[in-house]
């Protein structure tokens, strides 16, 4: 169990020290005024692509020796574009996405507990109306 906490700690320290938790960095990214955030995301994705390809070719097995399966996501255009758009509005507005929210909360920005509650309420409302939304 505790292995997941350790993964989370490494995630938290990494994003904090990389300044990816900073509202200003997100603001800067959406103004295309620095390569910083793009560098973080790009390097993660490039390394990730290599890892996923190794897994798919069966070179890497999971901790219990099983073949790892990576599920394809179902393709639907409105869901990802509209949902993504709404998320993007919030991401730029708050300057924090869900990972940094937990990290900043831990670093002492306690007011983010309100942000967390609002995000849970948003998720809850989505659960209520999801049958009526285009997916």
């Amino acid at each position: 169990m505790s292995k997941f906490i350790i993964v989370g700690i490494i995630f938290g320290v990494t994003l904090y020290k990389a300044e990816a938790v900073s509202w200003y960095r997100i603001f800067e990214m959406f103004h295309f005024q620095s390569f910083h955030m793009y560098g973080i995301i790009l390097s993660a994705v490039v390394a990730g692509i290599v890892i996923v390809q190794l897994i798919k070719r069966g070179r890497i097995r999971s901790v219990d020796g099983q073949q790892i399966e990576i599920n394809d996501k179902d393709l639907s255009i409105p869901r990802y574009l509209i949902g993504g758009f709404i998320f993007g509005l919030g991401w730029a507005l708050a300057g924090v996405c869900p990972g940094p929210m937990f990290i900043l909360l831990g670093s002492g920005v306690t007011v983010l507990i309100v942000f967390l509650s609002a995000a849970m309420f948003g998720t809850f409302l989505y659960g209520l109306v999801r049958d009526k939304l285009p997916h």
Partner: protein
């Protein structure tokens, strides 16, 4: 480093995605009584809550032990500092805090603080679940697995972010 974290979680037989925790927390609070979306075995997702808990510890450690008090700044570019100054937010190059002054309890009761924290949180929570993931799930995990839906979601993230930053911010920030 982030890719390594994703790899470790895949290696443990899981998927990397932080925002799924919002659904888990809703379900744990009994939201299953209101919508079938929250009727799932949330105990099986407990590992993801542990990752979030770890992230909080990580934030505490990074800010209290791995950062000197004077060093707790975001090294944003001079161009961004100039843009902020034009909007009336005066910060100095090399002295920009990690989070702006509106991330505080008093500012929650101002219009700007309320919009940013409460409306921002709501949009993030709603949008992340609608799109089926956030930055970690789509931009990192999804793009790494060459998933077209994730690319669409990331395009959506950026469209939303650009509209907010360039069209909506000038109205109130």
């Amino acid at each position: 480093m982030i890719a390594l974290i994703m790899f470790v979680l895949i290696y443990f037989g899981k998927e990397f995605g932080i925002s799924a925790n919002f659904r888990v927390m809703c379900a744990a609070d009994g939201a299953g009584d209101y919508a079938s979306f929250f009727k799932f075995d949330w105990n099986s997702q407990g590992w993801n809550l542990l990752v979030a808990l770890g992230a909080m510890f990580g934030g505490y450690l990074a800010s209290h032990y791995f950062t000197d008090p004077g060093e707790n700044v975001a090294g944003i570019s001079a161009a961004t500092v100039a843009t902020l100054a034009k909007m009336g937010h005066l910060v100095e190059v090399g002295q920009v805090p990690i989070v702006p002054e509106f991330y505080s309890w008093p500012s929650l009761f101002t219009l700007t603080g309320f919009i940013i924290i409460v409306i921002g949180g709501f949009l993030v929570g709603f949008g992340a679940r609608y799109a089926g993931g956030c930055t970690s799930g789509h931009a990192i995990s999804g793009l790494s697995a060459l998933q077209l839906p994730s690319l669409l979601a990331v395009v959506g993230f950026f469209l939303g972010g650009l509209v907010m930053t360039h069209l909506i911010f000038p109205l109130f920030l």
